[in-house]
Amino acid sequence: MRKGALKVIMTIRTPKPKKVNRAGLTISDYKGSPSTLCSGCGHDAISSQITKAFYEMGVKPHQVAKMSGIGCSSKTPAYFLGSSHGFNGVHGRMPSLATGALLGNRDLICIGLSGDGDTASIGLGQFCHLLRRNIPMIYVIENNGVYGLTKGQFSATADIGSKQKSGVINDLPPIDCCTLAIEMGCSYVARSFAGDPKQLVALLQGALSHSGTAMLDVISPCVTFNNQESSTKSYKWAKEHEELLHQIDFVPYFEPIETVEYAEGVMREVEMHDGSHIRLRKLNQDYDPMNKNSALSMLRETRDSGEFLTGLIYVNPVAKNFLDLLDLSETPLAVLAQEKVRPGPEVLEEAMRELM
């Protein structure tokens, strides 16, 4: 039923599948090299949705910078947008690389791919500080609750009480990246599931329209090390427990918004930075993702009740991002001409005089 309902909506949303998008490119222009991940890995599903979202938004691949840390998840930037620049850095430190890249070139459309270990274990500090700065980028956590690439050790989002193949049991509470992100000032916080392509695409498109950090905590099952039914990061559990906060329609700025009639409180519309609209259609209750406090309470309640809540949990479309705050020149710093960056001889003389 849900899926059914979703389909209807999607037809409203999805620009009729064309051969080429606004950038005059085909979907295959957004593909990358073949994946070397395990077949069935959630990460590959996410790569496909990223490919789709960027294609549908008509993003120009050369403007994109794909950043990542280390892990199976962090390998994925090689598997989409093959003609874009990509940077697979060191473990847990992608946030600083991405921050630097955007300082150097503010025009880049930056997407960071990370894992739960890369972000919540070794990378927790940099992750938090990135969010505080509201760096304008999409930050996707491909959350499977384990270290995939090193063969199944627990990450900081592993379920408490969960068991490794080796028999070791995890007795530490998992970090909730969404709550943490909101507390740290993140201005676009969403949770989704690799097995829910439609929602994921919509959330990615919303993220592309956002002017600050858009953090997507995406449950992405590791079929090799953490897909047993008991795991809250398994396909089965996620499918069975997924609770949609709302149904999401995304209307890109370049599409006409047909005004559809809705009963009172059935739909909320969030206008994004670039003029796109995110439409949230009520499911159980009317939910306001612009209210930080209710977002936090909602997260706490569902966590306590063991629900797996997905959707756009919090958004502040007008928050100033870090580059705005730095008041940087419109021209990317990387390409400023010598005249702009090397003051003239008279300036040096002035400086010298002051020191005499």
């Binding site: 090299s33 120009k60 691949p61 050369h62 403007q63 910078a65 950043m67 930037p77 090689a78 093959g82 003609s83 874009s84 620049h85 990509g86 940077f87 697979n88 850095g89 060191v90 430190r93 946030p95 600083s96 690389l97 991405a98 921050t99 630097g100 890249a101 955007l102 300082l103 150097g104 070139n105 025009d107 880049l108 500090g125 940099q126 500080h129 730095l326 008041d327 940087l328 020149s329 419109e330 990317p332 710093l333 990387a334 390409v335 400023l336 010598q338 702009k340 960056v341 090397r342 003051p343 001889p345 300036v347 040096l348 003389e349 400086a351 010298m352 020191l355 005499m356």
Partner: protein, 623 residues
């Protein structure tokens, strides 16, 4: 505590008919946070304005207020800027250390001190000038806190009177120092006069030290190395500075922020042509700098020892992925936290080998204010030309102390942005291979993210890759890559600044230094010539990798002394690896107490060796 054990220099020796003119040191012993910094500067600059070369060294504790601090002004007619081991005149303002400060002086030196401390009983072989500083201060100001500040300027007046520093200069410096604050100016001038007057009326000069006007400072500037590096970076067109505070490097970033704000706002748009970000730690600081370098910005970070250690992993990434970034290491005394407010050259090995696996880095060693400026600029050119991290290794002595210098010259060469392919280039070439050695110099071509061409994109990774930047575990790809990186290091030799070499006819002894150690060498050479009749050949290293000049120099000397400020003789080892060490020809002269090295220590150690009697702490386990 006192900062030195009692050195052995006989005053008579260097005394020209009873008087010592423009060649002595004044040390002010006080506590930090007591506001003596400005008065010490005023005293130093007054001497400077009399045409006498000066240098100032501030020895301060690693806390914020209330602990002993020593500021030493050296006036040197010969322009020696290195530390002078012996203190000639002590201004004792700190009860905690007064006794020990006095005890460590040599005979017939001068002590100006706060009467209350009555130090004159301690020894009878010194010349004492007691002054009731606080009482005098009380005469012109009631506020107790201010009185402390005023007492400071009073000793400036007293010293000026004693040593013949013209009050007019003191006044003009005070005026300059307090800029528009007229009240402060008047008050300070009044206090200075009071100090001078008291000495005039109550003491008769019985010491031999005098300042006399000369012509050696016209057109010179006074600056610290961190400011010079900051200025250099501003004129190097640096666009991204990401840093984390740490002594003694912080003032590079902070001064740069000032200069950038003044000189680097785009006049047309009023927007910043730079970004300065205080990161959450050094891992983030270097990560951001590398990210920016990857994006094509001229990026840099500033730090000191502990930060260098934390940057190890990321620096290996930049070396292996060939990303330009400039890293300023203002060295302090390590290992670990060590002595954060003392100087050393202890990071040479760490910088050269930084990160796991086979890595070798390019390191520049400025030795003067001019070089702090020039080599900072060159560092950015080198880094983008070679596509790899470049370190600028300064230290606390160079970076935070005040030095006299000629004004800096405006850079002649335009920025060298290295091998970057534009969309047009790509169109012409029909593509490129990121890690291919096209030109035979082992330096590949790169494109910047955002370049509007379908062939522009490539994937950067710290894991194994082939010439097309694709992931590869193939042994042959890895060998090709690592051999090219090794070859690129050879190429670097063509670009790095050459050493400064100086031969004297028939000299058998060669001395090699780098960085601040050079400041003591002119004086050391003089001592060796005058006292020992030894002429030397001299080479000053300005960069790693070494160039052929080093080999030539060593082969032309019988014995080579590598003088540096660390325990293990780190540069000495790198030199031995480069040129060998036939019958212990390469010897190590080391200084690592945390105090700036002084000519006397070098001269003595060299002569010890020369007399075939190298022993003790500084003995060299390798020979």
């Amino acid at each position: 505590m006192s900062i030195q054990s009692r050195p052995q220099e006989d005053l008579q020796q260097n005394r020209a008919e009873g008087e010592i003119v423009n060649d002595f040191s004044i040390q002010v012993a006080t506590v930090n946070g007591s506001g003596s910094q400005s008065s010490n500067n005023i005293l130093m600059r007054a001497i400077f304005q009399m045409g006498v070369p000066i240098s100032g060294k501030n020895l301060f504790p690693s806390n914020i207020a209330g602990l002993p601090t020593w500021f030493t002004i050296r006036a040197s007619k010969d322009g020696y800027a290195g530390r002078k081991k012996e203190i000639d005149a002590l201004i004792a303002m700190n009860p905690q250390t007064a006794r020990e400060d006095v005890e460590t002086l040599q005979e017939s030196r001068v002590v100006i001190y706060d009467e209350k401390l009555n130090l004159s009983q301690i020894r009878d072989d010194l010349i004492y000038y007691p002054v009731p500083f606080s009482d005098l201060a009380g005469q012109i100001i009631k506020d107790v806190r201010l009185r402390r500040l005023i007492a400071n300027i009073i000793y400036v007046g007293s010293a000026a009177e004693l040593f013949g520093i013209e009050m007019a200069e003191v006044e003009s410096v005070i005026a300059k120092w307090f800029k528009t604050k007229q009240k402060a100016i008047d008050l300070n001038i009044q206090a200075a006069h009071l100090g001078a007057q008291y000495v005039r009326e109550n003491h008769t000069k019985s010491d031999c030290f005098r300042i006399e006007r000369m012509e050696k400072t016209q057109g010179k500037i006074i600056i610290d190395g961190n400011s010079a590096c900051a200025l250099g970076s501003v004129f190097a067109g640096a666009t991204v500075l990401t840093w984390y505070p740490i002594t003694p490097s912080s003032s590079v970033a902070e001064t740069m922020a000032d200069y950038m704000g003044r000189y680097r706002m785009d006049p047309e748009t009023g927007k910043a042509t730079f970004a300065i970000v205080q990161a959450e730690d050094e891992l983030a600081a270097i990560g951001m700098a590398i990210g920016a370098g990857w994006a094509g910005a001229r990026s840099m970070t500033t730090t000191s020892g502990p930060g260098i250690s934390l940057m190890s992993e990321f620096v290996g990434l930049a070396y292996f992925t060939e990303i330009p970034v400039v890293i300023f290491d203002i060295q302090r005394v390590g290992p670990s936290t060590g002595l954060p407010t003392r100087t050393s050259q202890g990071d040479v090995a760490a910088l050269f080998y930084l990160s796991h696996g086979d890595t070798k880095h390019v390191v520049l060693f400025p030795a003067s204010m001019k070089e702090c400026f020039d080599l900072s600029i060159q560092a950015f050119d080198l880094s983008e030309r070679l596509q790899q991290p470049v370190f600028v290794a300064s230290d606390l002595d160079l970076g935070m102390n005040t030095w006299m210098s000629d004004p800096f010259d405006y850079p002649e060469r335009p920025l060298d942005r290295g091998k970057v392919l534009t969309a047009e280039d790509l169109e012409r070439l029909g593509g490129f291979a990121r890690y291919k050695d096209v030109d035979g110099d082992a330096i590949p071509y790169r494109t910047l993210p955002g370049t509007d061409h379908p062939a522009a994109g490539y994937f950067t990774r710290g894991s194994g890759h082939n010439e097309e930047a694709r992931y590869s575990e193939r042994p042959e790809d890895y060998l090709t890559l690592m051999d090219r990186l090794a070859k690129k290091y050879e190429t670097a030799k063509k670009f790095v600044p050459e050493p400064i070499v100086q031969f004297s006819n028939g000299a058998e002894v060669g001395i090699i230094t780098y960085g601040t150690t050079d400041a003591a060498m002119e004086e050391c050479q003089e001592q060796l010539r005058q006292e020992q009749g030894v002429d030397i050949n001299y080479l000053r290293i300005r960069a790693l990798p070494f160039t052929h000049h080093l080999h030539e120099f060593v082969s032309r000397c019988q014995r080579v002394y590598v003088v540096e400020q660390n325990r293990d003789g780190q540069m000495g080892d790198l030199i031995r690896l480069e040129v060998g060490n036939e019958e212990g020809k390469i010897r190590k002269v080391l200084h690592y107490s945390g105090l700036p090295i002084d000519a006397r220590s070098i001269t003595d150690q060299v002569m010890e060796y020369e007399k075939g009697s190298a022993q003790g702490n500084h003995d060299d386990s390798h020979t």
